[in-house]
Amino acid sequence: MKLTLKIWRQKDAGTKGKMVDYQVKDISEHMSFLEMMDVLNEQLVGKGEDPVAFDHDCREGICGMCSMYINGEAHGPDRGITTCQLHMRMFNDGDTITIEPFRAKAFPVIKDLVVDRTAFDRIQQAGAFISVNTSGNTQDANAIPISKHAADEAMDAATCIGCGACVASCKNSSAMLFVGAKVSQYALLPQGQVEAADRVRNMVAQMDLEGFGNCTNTGACEVECPKGISLENIARMNRELMKAAVNN
């Protein structure tokens, strides 16, 4: 098929960007979206132009690196997938596709479609861990039984790939689904409960510091999340922070 692509081009963080139109043809419906972008870039390199920079790595939906806002939605029109798993069969011959970077003040553009998501790392450094030494002299793994239900719920929260689609989709650029998932994973497990109060306080404080917006419970994040992280994680985080405030 033949497509018109409207792509955000921005040389670097300091330069103003703009949308630029490109044409690609001979796109197979079996291609992934990023393979279509490869075709475009090969074409640009051939002409000696600067190819479109975009983040991507594993191309199987687990590393969380790819991050495009396609036709007005994070990771494009399909559900439960990342951009790299989006296939061209979701589009029609002759379509115009708008491709933008994930937008948030806390995710500044580095170049073209590449954004800086290290805010997520800093939030996790503020407390998304259990303070246990890696000596290997911890107690036996089966010493504390954990109910299957709690383990499964913790796992569901832990599947977050940190791609930032929640922030990108949220009208407030809020990071609460991401932070909620991290807080929940630990709050649901007995190992994590020891430091629960400090963890949630510090992580939320860092989240606020990074300049993410506030959650107004629109639920857009949950819908666009490639891993289907539930909104309940935000509710749980709210509760954890209230608990931390009351117990202090």
């Binding site: 409207k6 955000w8 949308m19 806002y69 036709n71 007005g72 939605e73 029109p77 708008t98 933008e100 937008r103 948030a104 003040k105 806390a106 553009v109 989709s169 009208k171 407030n172 650029s173 809020s174 609460m176 306080r201 939320v204 404080a205 989240m207 606020d208 300049g211 993410f212 917006g213 506030n214 959650c215 107004t216 419970n217 629109t218 639920g219 857009a220 819908v223 666009e224 909104l231 309940e232 935000i234 509710a235 749980r236 985080m237 709210n238 509760r239 954890e240 922070l241 209230m242 931390a244 405030a245 009351v246 202090n248």
Partner: protein, 225 residues
């Protein structure tokens, strides 16, 4: 604790707490108003009690006004802050693909409700304050002294089709506001964990039934002239 209310989540919780207060107020307002349909006498009595009881007048009324003002101011503050969290807007954004209109437009439904409250104050609250505290008439009686004035005043207000229209429209906005706001408030205080579905249903029931009730009351009085 003060640190808590400075955090993003703390503000969210404060929004939710003020919302709970307003929703409870709305419920009692509705119950009293519905008396005007089924029992004008009881309506008069309850209205008089509410209008003259010192606890309600000097404690609950200021708290209510504070709650309303807080909810609005906080709503605007958060909206502005949230808008600022995305400095470059999307060229194309499909909000409808992942969220309800109601959830995305709380600020607009809220503004409509604010406009309504102004109207409502002009209609009822200012005259009421004037009568009671400026004129100094706390009897609650009609000019001719034949019974309470509350029902008559209410009934009279709904004569104008324009006002009724405005009221109906305002309650439609209130319904839209509540459709998101009710569950959202519970979500904010973390009460939805494990009961998302039932909260959604409850929210839908509240946000449709209460405004609808108000609308019916307004129409009832309008068509009973």
């Amino acid at each position: 604790m003060s640190g808590f209310f400075k955090s993003s989540i703390g503000r969210k919780v404060a929004m939710a707490l003020s919302a709970f207060f307003l929703m409870i107020f709305l419920l009692q307002h509705f119950i009293i108003n519905s008396l005007s349909v089924c029992s004008p006498d009881s309506f008069n009595e309850v209205s008089h009690f509410m209008g003259t009881n010192w606890l309600i007048q000097y404690l609950l009324q200021p708290v209510l006004i504070f709650g309303v003002v807080f909810h609005f101011v906080m709503g605007f503050v958060l909206e502005l802050k949230n808008k600022g969290a995305r400095d470059v807007k999307y060229v194309q954004n499909k909000g409808a693909a992942n969220s309800s209109w109601m959830s995305r437009n709380m600020i607009w439904s809220g503004l409509a409700i604010l406009a309504f409250i102004v109207l409502h104050f002009i209609d009822f609250w200012f005259p009421e304050i004037n009568t009671k505290y400026i004129v100094g008439d706390t009897s609650g009686l009609l000019h001719n002294g034949e019974g309470f004035r509350y029902y008559e005043e209410l009934h009279h207000k709904f004569e104008s089709p324009l006002r009724v229209g405005a009221y109906v429209l305002a309650f439609v906005f209130l319904a839209l506001h509540l459709m998101h706001g009710f569950t959202s408030a519970f979500q904010s205080i973390g009460a939805t964990v494990g009961r998302k579905k039932i909260m959604k249903k409850l929210g839908m029931a509240y946000s449709v039934l209460i405004p609808l009730g108000f609308i019916i009351i307004a129409l009832y009085h309008h068509f009973n002239h």
